[in-house]
């Protein structure tokens, strides 16, 4: 590694860790004025990306810019974390409102079906729409596939959260059905890209 790269690496790591230190200071002063300190800290952490990219290249540089503050913060917090956790209170509150066991199990099963197969189906329909849309605006196939491959887990995760919300089941089911319909219409309106 060239001397300039080593210097950039050191600058990048120093900026990231300085940023982290400022964010911690802002937290320690949270009862008083601390916005500027916090903004500066986060800005420095973002700014650290530039020298790290110079030192390590775009891919490794950005990755390292994320990792350095993470490790620094965990190291700061670790002294309190390696101690044994004490005993919890054994206070017992009255049982919550009763619901027959089988009804609760059925509800859990439906939620699992919503969060699993149903959310996956909506995700796949949305993925088709997304692929056709990006192909329609001239993206290359690898770029479109990258977007879809990253979109699919995120979309499924979001839909799984909606499915597991403590809201009426009919609303959750209707939301998924509506989303599926919207994406299906979108996919049908966008013609297949490859002929």
């Amino acid at each position: 590694m060239a001397t300039s790269s080593i210097a950039a690496l050191i600058v990048g790591l120093a900026l990231g860790l300085l940023g982290l230190a400022l964010v911690r200071q802002s937290w320690l002063r949270r009862q008083t004025r601390h916005t500027g300190l916090m903004a500066t800290g986060w800005s420095l952490m973002i700014l650290a990306t530039a020298p790290l990219v110079v030192a390590l290249g775009p891919d490794l540089g950005v990755t390292t810019a994320f990792m350095a503050p993470m490790l620094g913060a965990i190291a700061l917090l670790s002294p309190g974390m390696i101690q044994p956790v004490g005993a919890a209170s054994n206070a017992v509150s009255p049982a919550s409102a009763s619901r027959t066991h089988w009804l609760a199990s059925l509800r859990t099963l439906i939620v699992c079906l919503l969060a699993g197969p149903a959310a996956l189906t909506v995700t796949l329909i949305a993925s088709i729409a997304l692929l056709r849309m990006t192909q329609g605006i001239g993206w290359t196939m690898p770029d479109s596939l990258l977007l879809v491959f990253l979109f699919a887990p995120l979309a499924w995760a979001g839909l799984a959260v909606i499915s597991a919300l403590d809201a009426p089941l009919r609303w959750r089911s209707a939301s998924l059905a509506a989303l599926a319909a919207v994406f299906a219409i979108l996919a049908l309106l966008l013609s297949p890209s490859i002929s």
Partner: protein, 505 residues
């Protein structure tokens, strides 16, 4: 008199939304907690899969490079062996020495051997334990496609937990450095869970996102291919990873891999590409082709495919190294997920962050157990089962190590031993006299089995047999893990009122 509180700069979420998110977060976490923990724990170990493989056969001679002529002769030796066995392999592969695995090996189908300086096939590659760990993490030991999808689903659910977790804890960033005194039971456990979640968030998003993308790519591509006329799944992946070499040679001598390797050394070394796998399709038969997968140790991409004519002239490259953004990014997903991009320091960082993820998984379920105990009274069965599910895998991995190294049982039996053992432990845990005893017993059992397995392996090969630093590193790592487990078991509070499952308890 206290000063008036300053208005917060943080946005407030409605209490109703927070309550709903908390419910979703707990629901998803509890249902999948054990599997998420096992995938995370095995992921921590798989970071070192190359080192485990080198440790399993530590006596194999290692080298930094081999000559093109030796590589060509190695390919011929593999083909000669196949013909002697009346096999007609679709493809033979020669694995060149790389920084991660500085060994020359080659083979076809499921048979691979190490190759010596005279290009003779030597000892068979036998990585039973590291393959057990890899299969556990990649597939949870399920059939490959189903396993990938299930593990992909785990990634999705982990992402869902991150999303719902942040929405359920609106103060989590505000309290990014809060750490209440240990001994405060549920509060300090919640601090541990929340602080590790905040500061590990980029890792906790990146790992499941890349893992789920890898796991779900097949099923997503299958559906996309159905929706696009005249396009198959293979066509789709070929746009990213290439279709292989197109120029073919008739039946006869193998393509000139030696010449191709000289071209790689001359024209691609400056780009940081080094030969990794020589792939010869239809070797010796009609339409044989030559492709070399190169590694790129200074990049996040796993490598670049270079195609050659049968006489070793360069034809083209796929573009993982310098092609479309999508190609480069997709080629980076694997290394980003497995920490295979910056040598030992990055692997150690991944282990630290991976262990933090394990703690988040375990402490999340334990917090749910605390809350359930407060609402409905003690839940001894659930708590014992959870202890078995947390420390059981550690003990069972130790057992598999011992069975593999000491008793040499068939590799195919390791997976049943692990899963049947886990179910049995969860059942037998109900008869444990105390939770603290159960936790302590499992830790000590795991520690003992790890020590036995590592020691037996060391005695089998001797110090002189440990011919590479990776073998010594893995050996030291196993011994250190066993000692840490023992220490953790011995300092555990005896009067365990709570489920003693979080490391440090």
């Amino acid at each position: 008199m206290a000063a008036p509180a300053r208005p917060s700069i943080w946005p407030d979420l409605s209490a109703k939304l927070v309550a709903r998110m908390l419910s979703a977060h707990a629901g998803l976490g509890v249902i999948l907690g054990a599997l998420l923990y096992i995938v995370s724990l095995s992921g921590v170990l798989v970071v070192f899969h190359a080192e485990f493989a080198r440790w399993e056969q530590p006596h194999i001679v290692e080298r930094q490079s081999v000559s093109p002529e030796l590589a060509q002769s190695a390919a011929q030796s593999v083909l000669d062996h196949a013909r002697a066995m009346d096999d007609t392999p679709d493809e033979i592969m020669i694995f060149m020495p790389t920084p991660d695995s500085p060994r020359l090996a080659g083979g076809y189908d499921d048979s691979y051997w190490f190759i010596d300086d005279q290009a003779r096939l030597g000892e068979r590659i036998d990585h039973g334990f590291s393959e057990f760990l890899i299969d556990l993490h990649y597939y949870l030991h399920l059939p490959s496609t189903l396993g990938l999808i299930v593990v992909g689903l785990m990634g999705v659910m982990m992402l869902a937990l991150v999303v719902s977790g942040f929405l359920a804890h609106p103060r989590v960033f505000r309290d990014a450095f809060r750490s209440r005194k240990p001994g405060n039971g549920q509060l300090s456990l919640a601090d541990r869970h929340n602080r590790l979640s905040v500061w590990g968030a980029p890792f906790h998003v990146m790992i499941p996102l890349t893992g789920a993308a890898l796991g779900l790519a097949t099923i997503v591509a299958l559906v996309l291919a159905q929706s696009e006329p005249e396009m198959t799944v293979t066509d789709m992946f070929d746009t990213v990873f290439g279709a292989g070499a197109e120029q073919t040679a008739p039946a006869g001598p193998l393509p000139d891999a030696a010449q191709a390797l000289r071209v790689v050394a001359k024209d691609f070394a400056e780009d940081g590409l080094i030969p990794w796998i020589i792939q010869i399709h239809h070797p010796g038969e009609d339409e044989q082709t030559l492709q070399i997968l190169t590694a790129a140790p200074d990049r996040l991409i796993f490598g670049e495919y270079l195609q050659f004519s049968p006489d070793g002239r360069f034809i083209g490259q796929t573009g993982l190294e310098n092609g479309e953004f999508g190609q480069q990014a997709m080629a980076s997903v694997y290394n980003l997920h497995f920490g295979n991009w910056g040598g030992a320091p990055i692997k150690l960082v991944y282990v630290a962050l991976g262990l933090a993820l394990c703690v988040v998984c375990v402490s999340g379920v334990q917090l749910w157990l605390y809350k359930r105990a407060r609402k409905k009274g003690p839940q001894p069965r659930l708590e014992r089962a959870w202890i078995a599910l947390v420390w059981g895998p550690v003990a069972l991995i130790g057992l598999c190590l011992t069975l593999d190294r000491v008793f040499g049982i068939a590799d195919s039996l390791l997976a049943p031993v692990f899963w049947i053992g886990l179910v049995a432990l969860a059942g037998l845990s109900q008869f444990a006299p105390s939770k603290a005893g159960l936790s302590c017993g499992l830790k000590l059992t795991g520690s003992t089995l790890l020590l036995i397995g590592a020691s037996a392996h060391f005695l089998a090969y001797g110090a002189s047999g440990y011919q590479n630093p990776a073998a010594w590193g893995v050996f030291a790592g196993i011994i250190l893990s066993a000692l840490l487990l023992t220490g953790d078991a011995l300092r555990q509070p005896r009067a365990g009122v709570t489920p003693a499952v979080v490391p440090g308890d």
